[in-house]
Point group: C2
Chain length 455, copies 2
């Protein structure tokens, strides 16, 4: 869909959000065990996907929530309810008040009761808020990372809800931090456009893969220029060590190897598990225990040092990240593109991380997550932390072919998107095929299932 | 609906869950500003209500999620999805494995992704899990508190998911605690049946009430035998102090006065706010800041002592309560009847609280919450903590007339329910009137609204 900066034909005024469409889209990834981990054995990567439409027929904004299958319909229902709240808003007003939509959605007291700021309603908030930022960036004709990087420090601060943050970060402190990073913006932007952003790959060690597939994925990763690899652990300790040793032997001693336990262990067990893995020299242990457990992460980190402890893909809001940082519980903040309440809350966490001098290494994979987080990391580098040190974006090579704007990841790096907006618009054919339950794929599969039952 | 212990007529085997009905029920409480507080100015108390049906037509189980209006439909959708998972289960099997339903619902990895164990899916889990306990207790012909109090320590432990708890509480430690409380069960049960359970009342100081209504409510409360009162604060500091002084002057120096800020303040502001209220001698400050913020509550508590700090109505799972207790952040745990994932997770928190020697003072009010939590506190007294010290159940005198089993609260105490089950079955007439949007009340109101628009 082309972008436009022209005045819409309809009303003669600035473009206005006139309506929305929500789609339940599910990809049958469980058939190949892509994405299998200790907590999630059979995910069907899915998107609760929203298009915000305007009175300019050439201008829509797209956002989504990532889920792993069942329950995607519940997220769609929540998105439909929240999207009603932005119908009628003009893009000029939204551009003038960058916090307006996020505030409106998170402060509705009746929806807030269902969280607050967590679970289905917050996932839905992310989709609608991000679709609004997509609209603003598309209208400006710039990729979201550049749109954000062109904002003034005052505008960036105006997008953030500082409620429940001020014991760690005040608006004044945030402004000072952003002003301090202003001088180097142009050089860092040039660096980014010339050299890309560092990344690591997670396609090697999904739990469901047999050993020979793990070896082949490592070899393919090295050949493709990757120097940082992540594998899943958390099932059987001895088997984890055995599989990790395979990966380490394939990638050699000098490449980074991260391990991801996906929340399955209690504190003492997590500590013992990491210590057993120490021999393969892990760069970090990810999600060693419950994502809600700030105190447990702090204790694990203190006991497994110098191995880094990271979490965040299930940290549901800025208050959780604030505590993880205050408690010294994490070595990197793994923000997710659509579990936090959209761009506005992502900015809050980037500011917190810069304040605590903790690198942001976003969670990605699934469907659409790589597309989201590249913008946030690039904006962080240009305008917030100003640093690439110990920073990497996760990458998994799944499902990118369904996006209209194709991700550019090669030689172990993300390359700055050039298309306008957030870049999560789905190909019309993908939408027609994988819409659930009425898309071509799912209706055909239902027919096959029926045939097998009757055979 | 009568209970039965007979074998069902249909199959000849033990009763089996054959299906369910889900109802979106909303009461127009916002019209009277009942329940208004600093975060929630205009709640419409609502229930996402489920009936689990069995092949015995005289035996159903009822559960619900409490919401404050918009989004109740989203909870209903989630309940429908989760309830599918219990259809076909036999009550004999459920009685033999008291953790089975809770585990099945919380370990479905695809629904878990939408939390985990928080937000809409966890609220829906509570409704289905509690409906299952209602079924078991109705079939046994006993009220839920007595059903729970008759379980052996081993059975109680078997109902609990200890995942992510064992750094604070192991199954062995829980068993030891419960065995230690076994000897006094019979006497405490007699005491409970003779003397009731202590309570406090929250009908005096809703934020939306004018001063003369506050005075009248205090006087009515004293006349009815109440000795502990709670009021809402958190809007304007001076106005809060002024209103609190009115309540204190009405109830005198010897009755307890609790204040509830409903999450609106940041740490420093919350501390200053409590200190300003010190002159009216508050028994506790409730929800001084974000319900997710364990560290903030710990800091506020250390700074406002000896005024107690309490929270929990929005603490979404056992891991949050564990941390609040580990961090020394709370003086009482305010469990909610259907925000935790049902009876099983409530038991986990009761065990944690007994371990940390922290009283449980449940959150109630709304619709159905008083009915829920009385069972949990009474079970706690008989079989877990064995104590009434500093323990009180919240009471608000709203909407109890819609329940088939009528709550018995008088002389400042809850009196032990005698009907079987959990006791949250709605009167058929209430269901017909307040089902949303098709009940008599809502269709009539929609017609009135239309008439006013066209007038």
């Amino acid at each position: 869909m082309p972008t436009t900066e022209t005045t819409p034909s309809g009303s003669g005024g600035p473009p206005t959000i006139t309506g929305f469409r929500v789609h339940d889209v599910r990809f049958p990834t469980s058939e190949l065990l892509d994405g299998s981990d200790a907590m999630n054995p059979d995910p069907d990567y899915s998107a609760a996907y929203v298009e915000l439409r305007t009175d300019d027929p050439s201008l829509s904004g797209f956002g989504m929530t990532f889920t792993i299958g069942r329950g995607n319909d519940i997220c769609c229902a929540a998105i439909s309810s929240l999207a009603e709240m932005v119908v009628g808003l003009s893009l000029d007003d939204l551009r003038a008040d960058l916090g307006a939509v996020a505030t409106r959605l998170t402060s509705d007291s009746q929806y807030r009761w269902l969280g607050p700021e967590k679970g289905v309603v917050h996932l839905a908030t992310a989709a609608v808020v991000n679709a609004q930022w997509d609209l603003l960036a598309r209208r400006a004709g710039t990729p979201l990372w550049a749109f954000l990087s062109d904002l003034s420090p005052e505008e960036i601060v105006s997008a953030v809800d500082f409620r429940h943050l001020t014991d760690a970060l005040t608006p004044d402190a945030a402004l000072e931090l952003l002003e301090g990073a202003e001088s180097g913006r142009a050089e860092r932007r040039s660096d980014l456009e010339a050299n890309g952003y560092p990344a690591y790959i997670t396609s090697a060690g999904w739990l469901g893969y047999p050993d020979d597939k793990i070896r082949a994925q490592c070899q393919a990763g090295i050949a493709a220029g990757w120097d940082s690899f992540k594998m899943k652990v958390g099932r059987d300790r001895d088997d984890d060590v055995r599989r990790a040793a395979i990966v380490r032997s394939e990638i050699g001693p000098d490449r980074r190897l991260m391990v991801d336990a996906n929340q399955v262990r209690d504190v003492d067990d997590a500590i013992a598990h990491v210590q057993a893995l120490a021999e393969i020299d892990p760069w970090w242990i990810e999600e060693p225990t419950s994502p809600d457990d700030v105190l447990a992460h702090a204790r694990i980190r203190s006991e497994v040092a110098p191995i880094r402890v990271v979490t965040g893909e299930h940290a549901h809001n800025r208050v959780m990240f604030k505590q993880l940082m205050q408690a010294g519980a994490i070595d990197a903040a793994q923000i997710d593109g659509c579990r936090l309440g959209g761009v506005n809350e992502v900015i809050a966490v980037l500011l917190l991380a810069a304040t605590f001098d903790i690198p942001v290494c976003p969670h990605a994979g699934g469907i659409g997550l790589c597309e989201h987080v590249q913008h946030f990391s690039m904006f962080d580098y240009v305008a917030v932390s100003g640093s690439l040190e110990e920073r990497m974006i996760e990458y998994a090579d799944h499902l990118h072919e369904h996006m209209v704007q194709r991700l550019d990841v090669h030689d172990g790096r993300y390359w700055a998107p050039k298309g306008s907006g957030l870049g999560v618009e789905l190909e019309p054919e993908s939408l027609a095929t994988y819409s659930y339950p009425d898309g071509f794929y799912w209706t055909a599969r239902a027919e096959t299932d029926r045939a097998e039952v009757s055979a």
